[in-house]
C-alpha cells in the first residue's frame, strides 16, 4: 500500500496570532511552526500501516522552502520520502489541485490529510482532493483499518460516530482518534540523523487559477472585564444570565 500524508506547516497551538503589512499577512516573527496537529495524527497512523502492514509512506507539503524543517520532522518520525510543491499555499482549492497532481503522479492508494489546518481552518483540502482524483472520501476520520483494498473507517458525526466500509483509493480527513495523543512520536536522534539523508524532492507548482484569496485579517475586539459573582450568591449569576446577558 502506498500512502501519502499531506502535511500543513502551521504555527504552534500556543502561538500569539498577529498580522503585518496592513493586516494582510500573518506575522511569523517569533512563531514556532509545527506539523499541523490533525496531520500528525494521520502521519502516526500511517506509521502503524508501515510497521504492521509494510506500507510505504510519503509526505507532501505545498509551501515555500521555509516549510522544509516541518517535512524533515515528518521524515524523522518515519516517513520514507518527502515532496514539497513549491508554491505559496493560499487557497484550499489551489492546494488541492497541486496535491491532486502529486497523487496522480505517485499512484497512491491511501491519502491521509488533516480534516483542517489550525491556521486557515478551511477544511477543504481532503474533500477537494478526493473529488479531483476520483477517490473515495471519509472526513473527520477517527479510526481506520485497511485489509487488501477494503477500508473500514470510523467518522465523527455530530453527537456520535459512524462506521463505513469503502475501497481504495481513499482519501481521509483525519483528526485525533486516528491515534491517541499518547501515540504521537517525538523524533529521536537516530530518526533525525536518518531524516537528513532521506529524499526531499521539490516539484514545481502547476499553473491553475486561484478561486479564493484572503484579503485581510483582523483580531477579535478586546474583551471587557469579567463580572465576578460571589460563591455565596450563586443566584445572582442566574439573574445576570437572564436579565443582562439574555442567555437563558
Amino acid at each position: 500500500m502506498k500512502i501519502l500524508v499531506c502535511i500543513s506547516h502551521v504555527p504552534d497551538t500556543t502561538s500569539k496570532i498577529n498580522f503585518t503589512e496592513g493586516d494582510t499577512k500573518f506575522d511569523t516573527n517569533g512563531v514556532q511552526f509545527v506539523i499541523n496537529p490533525n496531520d500528525e495524527f494521520g502521519l502516526t497512523r500511517a506509521m502503524w500501516f508501515k510497521e504492521k502492514q509494510g506500507a510505504s509512506v510519503d509526505v507532501v507539503n505545498v509551501g515555500g522552502a521555509e516549510t522544509e524543517p516541518t517535512l524533515r520532522k515528518a521524515l524523522a518520525i518515519g516517513a520514507d520520502n518527502a515532496i514539497r510543491v513549491n508554491a505559496e499555499a493560499t487557497d484550499g482549492f489551489y492546494v488541492a489541485k497541486q496535491l491532486a497532481k502529486v497523487v496522480q503522479d505517485g499512484g497512491y492508494d491511501l491519502v491521509i490529510a488533516g480534516r483542517e489546518s489550525i491556521d486557515y481552518n478551511g477544511g477543504m483540502v481532503p474533500g477537494m482532493l478526493a473529488a479531483l482524483t476520483g477517490a473515495n472520501f471519509v472526513n473527520t476520520c477517527i479510526g481506520l483499518e485497511v485489509e487488501g483494498d477494503v477500508a473500514t473507517a470510523i467518522r465523527e458525526i455530530d453527537g456520535g460516530k459512524e462506521t463505513s466500509t469503502t475501497r481504495l483509493p481513499l482519501v481521509v480527513g483525519g483528526q485525533k482518534g486516528l491515534v491517541e495523543e499518547s501515540d504521537l512520536r517525538i523524533p529521536n536522534m537516530r530518526g533525525i540523523m536518518m531524516a537528513r539523508k532521506k529524499p526531499l524532492t521539490v516539484v514545481e507548482a502547476i499553473e491553475t487559477a486561484q478561486e479564493t484569496k484572503a484579503v485581510k485579517f483582523e483580531k477579535p475586539a478586546p474583551k471587557g472585564e469579567v463580572t465576578l459573582v460571589s460563591p455565596d450568591n450563586v443566584g445572582q449569576l442566574v439573574e445576570l444570565l437572564h436579565n443582562e446577558a439574555k442567555a437563558i
Binding site: 486557515y120 479564493t212 463580572t227
Partner: protein, 322 residues
Amino acid sequence: MSVLVYTESEGGKFKKAAFEVASYAKEVANMLGTTVTAVSVNANDSSELGNYGVDKVLEIKNEKLTTFNAKAYADSLKQAADKEGAKVVVVSSSADSKFLASMLAVNLNAGYASNVVALPESASPFTVKRTAFTNKAFNLTEISTDVKVIGLSNNAFGLKEVSGAAAAEGFDPSLSDEDFTVNVTSVDRATDKVSIADAEVVVSGGRGLKGPENWGMIEELADVLGAATACSKPVSDMGWRPHGEHVGQTGKPVATNLYIAVGISGAIQHLAGINSSKVKVVINNDPEAPFFKAADYGIVGDAFEVVPQLIEKLKEFKANNA
C-alpha cells in the same frame, strides 16, 4: 440565478441549523436581488422553510439517501444548483455539511469559504468574513469564481423569521452506483442527548473535577439548561470523557450562545476553540486561572459547592419562568 441552500433534516425534521442557513441565504438573496431555493432530503414538511425566507423547495425523496452519504448528497446539490442556475450555495457547519461542501465545490468549480460568520461585506468583489486561526482571528476572503459555496458557522447569524411561503417541488437527482461507494454499516449516536454542534448551551468540565465519577453534576447542570456536555483536552486525553466531547483547537470548536466552564483553567488552545461563543461563564477555585480573562461572568469558588447551588437556582428560575 437564485441562492441555493441545503436545509438539513434528521428523521424527517429540519435541524435548527437549516433555519439559520435559510435566514442567511435570504439576506444574501436580497443583496443580490434574487430568490432562495432550498434543497431538502427526505424531510416531512418543507413548508416551515417559508418562515425563514425560502421561496422554493426542491424536495428530494429517495430511500437510498436515508443514511447520509456525502458524495450522493454533494452530487444531488450540484444538480440542484445547475437546475436553478445558482450563483451562491449556502451550507451549515455541521459535520455532514462540512463533509459534502468541499466535494460540492469541486463539482461546481466553485470557490468555497468555510466558517463564515457574517453577510458578505460586498457582492462585487464577493467578500466574506470567516474565522481563522481557530477563532483567534478573522479573515476577509474574496471568492472570485462565478459560483460560490459558503459554509456558515453555527449560531453566527441566528434565525430571522419572515412572513412568506415556500413552494414545494419534487426533485429527483440522477444518481448512480458511483455515488454509493462509501457504505455506512453502523451509526452510534446518543439520541437522548443534545450534540455540541446543535446545542445553544454547552456545559464543559475540566481537570478541576478530579475524576470521571464527578461528572454527574455536570450532566445534571446540562440537563437543567438543555445543554450539551463537553470537556477540556486533558480530560479527554485521560479517558475521563469521550474524544467527541473535547473542545478546543485540536478538538471541536464551540460557537454557542452560552458556554459554562467548570474546573477548566483556560489554556490558550481551549480558549481559541470556544472564543466564538457569545456568553462565557467560568467556575474555578483559582482566581489566577486564565479563563477569567476570557469570560464574561465568573465565580471564584469550589465547583463541588457552586455547581449544586447553581443547579438549584436554575431549577427555581425555570419553575418561576415556565
